[in-house]
Symmetry: C2
């Protein structure tokens, strides 16, 4: 099928495009290269060196014989978005084209506003472009498990049957997220559900856990196909940071007591989930939600798993938490939708041992220690 990957130059967008192409789909990518710009702004860089998009696309064509068409533009530009859809005529649009860092959104007022405006307006433009181009185009939207926050009840897949005063309704699952970034995704989900309702659009909202790993089978063959690996305090996930710390022989720095429980997923499972979602579209008018995670672990458990799996000594250190979040809480997540479509999950420890430690070891000379220190506080407004 014809799949357009928005944000196709990013950490997950690029491997998704390659994976879909590898599995026989006709793929195009679009990107405004904002993610590369954040590196310049923050003075950080991917641990694994990455090539420009044109080089990646050329390398993939050489290796596979498959062409991934690429477009340069910004989906907050409504005309670009409309022309992109009307030109490529996708059957599915995979939407990664958002600012995706919670700490980045919490830097100050300007970054909070940028994040919400960028993400909400881009998604609105995309909804209009789909409605105006072909209402059968399936929108596969990347959300995050962080949208839910940490409720004291089970986290269902996007919808919840609520019983109240002897009556009942199937309602959108009430969300209470922990950053202006996560809030932007909650806003998106509400807007998308409405578009499904009024225009009959098909949408799948993938509430993704923390993704780890850097390689998928199709990108392993050539370093020009590598995707980025972020370990800095703004764009790096906690898991990648721990792996870098273990490899460097530094203590693994846990915020608070580390009791915060999070959903996790291997990058190879992420790209599979997206393929499965594309190949099994939501019904017309359906706002379908999957919780795209395969394991739940506390931050302390993640640290301990990495310390145990690492073939060398590794210590854990506890720091003050710069975020406002519960240190210990209930966390039980339903995530059966994607397994029902055929997902066969990888497990953290295996991935660490088979590839992630080696990848980090290979590039350890590129680590900038200063970039790993947390600088953004949730409590302050950080204005100068």
């Amino acid at each position: 099928m014809r799949v357009l990957v928005l944000g196709g130059d990013g950490y997950l967008g690029w491997p998704t495009a390659v994976h879909l192409s590898d599995r026989g789909h006709t793929v195009a990518v679009a990107d405004n290269f904002a993610r590369r710009g954040y590196d310049h702004e923050l003075g950080v860089d991917s641990l694994v060196p990455i090539e420009p998009l044109v080089v990646r696309v050329r390398a993939w064509a050489e290796l596979s014989g498959q062409r991934i068409e690429s477009f340069s533009g910004d989906i907050t530009d409504a005309a670009f978005t409309r022309e992109l859809l009307q030109g490529f005529r996708p059957e599915a649009v995979v939407h990664f084209a958002e600012q995706r860092s919670a700490p980045y959104s919490m830097i100050d007022q300007a970054h909070a506003v940028y994040t919400q405006r960028n993400n909400v307006v881009g998604t609105l433009n995309l909804l209009y472009a789909i409605a105006e181009t072909d209402r059968d185009i399936h929108l596969v939207k990347l959300g995050t498990m962080g949208e839910y926050g940490t409720p004291n009840i089970d986290i269902e897949e996007g919808w919840l049957t609520v019983e109240h005063n002897g009556r009942s309704d199937r309602m959108l699952y009430p969300k209470r997220p922990g950053s202006f970034y996560h809030l932007s995704k909650v806003h998106d989900s509400h807007n998308i559900e409405f578009a499904c309702r009024i225009w009959g659009l098909r949408a799948t909202d993938l509430n993704q856990g923390i993704v780890y790993g850097q390689q998928i089978p199709a990108t392993e063959a050539d370093p020009r196909l590598a995707t980025r690996l972020d370990y800095d305090a703004i764009f790096g996930t906690v898991l990648n940071r721990f792996v870098v710390q273990a490899v460097l022989g530094h203590p693994l720095t846990v915020y608070g007591s580390g009791g915060q429980t999070r959903g996790l997923i291997d990058i190879r499972d992420t790209v599979e989930c997206i393929r499965l979602a594309c190949e099994n579209p939501a019904a017309a008018g359906e706002f379908r939600v999957f919780n795209q995670m395969t394991e739940a672990m506390s931050v302390e458990e993640i640290a301990k798993t990495i310390a145990e799996c690492y073939p060398g000594p590794a210590e854990i250190e506890y720091l003050d938490n710069p975020r406002v979040e519960l240190d210990t809480h209930y966390y039980n997540v339903v995530h059966t939708g994607l397994v029902g479509l055929g997902l066969a999950p990888h497990r953290l420890c295996d991935t660490l041992i088979t590839s992630l430690f080696a990848t980090v070891e290979q590039h350890r000379h590129r680590v900038d220690l200063a970039a790993m220190r947390p600088t953004v506080s949730w409590r302050a407004t950080n204005s100068s």
Copy 2:
């Protein structure tokens, strides 16, 4: 107390400012005059003639001896917003400064994006300005009953205790609104609740029903103090449109079967609710929600009430509904919070008879019939 009214030149912002000043508070207003701009864009006008803000403020000073300070600016401009708060140093900010029409937000992509960007960014800037100026400033934010949609369970005041699989949590009430405008208010509410959580802000979210009426006691004395009365298909509420139709001897045009039930409130009760909210602030860190309505009626019941109260013949006509909404549905709303603070509600029929019919009669020569026809469809994307 010192109260800053944002959107203080608008339909409700202006009477709120006058009412608060009349009741002894030190009031300032700010406005970017966007609402007057929409009139120019759409070629419509308030049924009741209104004076420029400077004339209104001067007239109020003449009549009352009270000065209402006025500021011209846009809260989507972060520097303006911060300087406004740091200059006036309010104890409460009443926030009406949003695009408030559902049909306007549904005109096309550009109007949807404008509405969400304007409303969400303005409110975000305000949250940052409060956090940076004084975290004790009480934010009184105008929301709408339309945020809830029409759930099949009782509508509580903003929060809902959810029982699920033997566990329980107090969660934000799940909302499923019916326009990109209403969605912008849902986004605002999520952002505000988060700001209360991380910065300890005090906020009251007033989910307001359809407001009717044009006069409050303090503005009756002088026509220069009059607030606007909208009856057009974009900014007019269904109730005002019915009253105009009754006075003109035209049929009252109900969309669909008229089974859609809505909350209502008299403009005199609205300004009282805001005074009560200001004088009884939310606690530090509290996101307090009131459902600001006093009666629930179906659209057909509103039409019938107006037809019965009108001292002359009045017919009802049923038209196709341009919106996507349920025609008949459960609707039971808890609205005890404001009554608990001392609100003594007016009733629709009394207000109609004592003032609204006469106001419309006085200005009937200003009615533009073309402006009353619905032109915005929820199903189309309305691109040219």
